[in-house]
């Protein structure tokens, strides 16, 4: 029970009044950004990332935990009330959740989502507490070849398996990978593709690209549609949260099943929480068909409870994978990894030895964030929707100013602002032509890992490519990769045959980033 005592210590670190304040502020800010239509939790984290650099590391990460979970919560609030999921992981919640809201049960729907997110998140945080040290231990068995296999898995999964068009996913991925190679090579000290520009010697800043692609790109995208497309404007919600005992009993099994489906996905890099949310939704739908009076299609509480729990369960274990393996499985986790690096820390097995107070403090603050959110959101979901009353020009004007402020605060250079503008234009073009955004960020974050492990493995084997298929771990990972591809292909063919376009019911998600 070493984990428990370490966690207790972590609570000790997290429980200072200042840190509690940071969790609270983080939750508030994260939810505030998350409830904006089209702005998801990864946008929340990206916008607020530069702000946290003013704090010391543990306070910054504690605030981050709040922002992240707050953002996720805001996503589903809007998915339910307005049918505008902030990210793809909230799409599955819109199907039954928005139907509940439309039939006058918006309050119950919000409560179902809040409690589902709470249960999924709590269970997965417990799992992470016990599993993360073991996972970190296990990952010491990883050599360059294994890490390369892992990175390759993440690349293929996010760019091809999860996104709609494999070619477009690969486009985003390759741009991300290419950006990650710019700057001084860490092994030989060679200057790479920076053409003598001193600001590029340290490489292209991930913070700048993230803010540009997720936030500024969205501003440009809305500007390009706002006079022509009334659906890009905001709607106003109504209702009050409350859940009866019967409804609670009805939703309970779905919450638990959703959690069980979501848990393992956090560790497998298949592109984040949207796959398990759809699986949980599908499972509930199948079970529902066997009941005497099928409720799906009319706002079934289980159809909302399961994906919400699954989404948050995945998010929790994904954080475990990030801490223990240093492997980001989603855009948001990628941004978190960038934050760690900013403080000169490298997540992975060594982090547990070098800065245990930070790791356990962060894990403890996950629990705190979850509790704060439940307290905040059950009664206040209503209040959040009032944010929509900010007139649109000022809302997006404010977001643009935040982008500029955040990037300038971290770099103090005008060059970085032009880079922000350029990458923002790229973000706009990607939105316009439905190119997924997450592979670009994942490619940029995992690019260096993939490159160094590829080179190290080849150098140590004397240029013999067989080294990649030797260890049992690499072979298992490649096996999983093949299985994942097969599973998705079969699933897609099947669902295409059964119903022409099940996903097309939802509006095109405005930010196609995987939570």
């Amino acid at each position: 029970m070493e984990s428990l005592s370490l966690l207790a210590e972590g609570f000790g670190h997290a429980f200072t009044p200042m840190n509690l304040l940071f969790v609270l502020v983080g939750c508030l800010l994260g939810t505030a950004v998350g409830v904006m239509p089209g702005l998801g939790s990864s946008m929340a984290v990206a916008l607020l990332l530069p702000m946290t650099f003013a704090l010391d590391p543990s306070a910054a990460f504690i605030m981050f935990a709040g922002v992240y979970f707050g953002g996720l919560f805001g996503d589903s609030t809007m998915a339910i009330l307005l049918n505008t999921p902030g990210q793809s992981s909230a799409i599955a919640s819109t199907f039954e959740g928005h139907k509940m809201a439309r039939s006058g049960r918006a309050p119950q729907a919000l409560a179902t989502a809040a409690i589902g997110a709470f249960i999924g998140g709590m269970v997965s945080c417990m799992v992470v507490v016990f599993l993360a040290p073991a996972l970190a231990e296990f990952s010491t068995a990883f050599g360059p070849a294994e890490y390369f296999a892992l990175a390759l898995f993440a690349f293929i999964a996010t760019s091809s398996v999860v996104s709609g068009s494999a070619l477009k996913g690969l486009t985003a991925l390759l741009i991300g990978l290419g950006l990650s190679t710019i700057g001084i090579d860490s092994v030989t000290g060679t200057e790479r593709a920076s053409f003598g520009v001193p600001q590029l010697f340290d490489g292209v800043s991930l913070v700048t690209v993230t803010v540009a692609i997720l936030a500024l790109g969205e501003v440009f995208h809305i500007a390009s549609r706002v006079r022509r497309d009334p659906t890009s404007r905001l709607l106003r919600p109504k209702g009050r949260p409350f859940l009866s005992k019967a409804e609670f009993r009805e939703a309970m099994p779905a919450w638990l099943r959703g959690t069980a489906i979501g848990l393992p996905f956090g560790v497998i890099p298949v592109g984040g929480a949207d796959v398990p949310t759809f699986m949980a939704y599908g499972a509930e739908k199948t079970l529902d068909k066997r009941r005497k009076t099928p409720k799906f299609g009319t706002g079934a509480i289980r159809g909302l409870a399961a994906p919400e729990a699954a989404g948050n369960a995945t998010t929790g274990t994904a954080m475990g994978a990030l801490l223990a393996l240093g492997l980001p499985v989603s855009a948001t986790a990628a941004i978190m990894l960038a934050a760690f690096r900013q403080y000169g820390m490298q997540p992975g097995p060594l982090l547990f030895e070098r800065s245990p107070e930070l790791v356990w403090g962060l894990l403890a603050s996950f629990f705190l964030a979850m509790i704060v959110l439940l307290i905040l959101n059950l009664p206040f979901a209503q209040v959040w929707s009032k944010l929509l009353l900010i007139p649109r020009p000022y809302l997006y004007g404010g977001i643009a100013v935040m982008c500029g402020l955040g990037v300038f605060a971290t770099s103090s250079s005008a060059f970085e602002l032009f880079l922000l503008l350029g990458a923002g234009l790229l973000g706009f073009v990607m939105r316009r032509y439905d190119v997924p955004l997450a592979p670009l960020l994942i490619g940029m974050v995992l690019g260096p890992l993939a490159e160094t492990s590829l080179r190290d493995a080849l150098i140590s084997s004397g240029g013999e490519p067989g080294v990649f298929f030797e260890g049992p771990i690499s072979l298992t990972i490649y096996g999983l990769l093949v299985a994942a591809i097969a599973l998705v292909v079969v699933g897609r063919v099947r669902s295409a045959r059964r119903s022409p376009a099940p996903v097309a019911e939802a509006p095109a998600p405005q930010a196609d980033v995987h939570a």
Binding site: R102, R192, R227, R228, L235, P393, Y394, G397, L405, A409
Partner: protein
């Protein structure tokens, strides 16, 4: 930038149904492979001009960028073929049957979706947003945060179809000043004070 002239007040008067003209209809997505190919070329030039130190073991620092550049060319070629064979016309968004909106709003969205423009994107609004940001980046150092950020806010508000330019100036200056006070004075970040610095 012919787009700027082509439909100055487009929403008010649906232009004489000028459909996105010719062969490029639905194929403007070709810009995506173009960007990828250009970026691959950038990487390739970087690889070719790279000064790899003597005696570096293979694979050296040029290996991975070269790999990415080659893959970039292949993917962009495949994308070009894809866009030529099956164009992807942009589809304006309308409310689905699940959206909780009034009949009037629904009808408005459907009517708006039927209007054909020369370009799918509204380049006039987009130019305000992009130009606003470029101006912000240019004048931030000389003019200072409060002026530059207010300008950015105002331009983006304008891009979002705000109809009250004078009132916007007041809001913009308030937002940029509050941000300056909160982040520079309270949190100790270093924002340029610029021309207002001496006051």
């Amino acid at each position: 930038m012919t787009a700027l002239r082509a439909h100055d007040d487009a929403p008010a008067q649906p232009t004489e149904a000028a459909p996105a003209a010719g062969w490029f209809a639905g194929r403007s997505g070709l810009v995506v492979p173009l960007i990828l190919a250009a970026f691959s070329t950038y990487l390739l030039v970087g690889v070719l001009t790279m000064e790899v130190p003597e005696g570096t073991d293979w694979p050296g620092p040029d290996f991975f960028p070269l790999l990415v550049a080659i893959a970039g060319y292949i993917v962009s070629a495949l994308l070009v073929v894809k866009y030529i064979r099956q164009p992807e016309p942009a589809v304006p968004n309308v409310y689905s049957e699940l959206d909780d909106v009034s009949a009037a709003e629904r009808a408005e969205a459907e009517a708006a979706a039927k209007v054909r423009y020369r370009f799918f994107s509204d380049w006039r609004c987009l130019a305000w947003a992009i130009g606003g940001f470029a101006a912000f980046a240019l004048i931030l150092m000389p003019a200072g945060w409060i002026v530059a950020a207010a300008l950015l806010f105002w331009c983006v508000a304008r891009a979002m179809d705000s109809r009250r330019p004078l009132w916007d100036v007041v809001v913009a200056l308030t937002v940029s000043s509050v941000a300056y006070l909160a982040f520079d004075v309270l949190l100790g970040m270093n924002l340029p004070s610029g021309i207002l610095g001496g006051l």
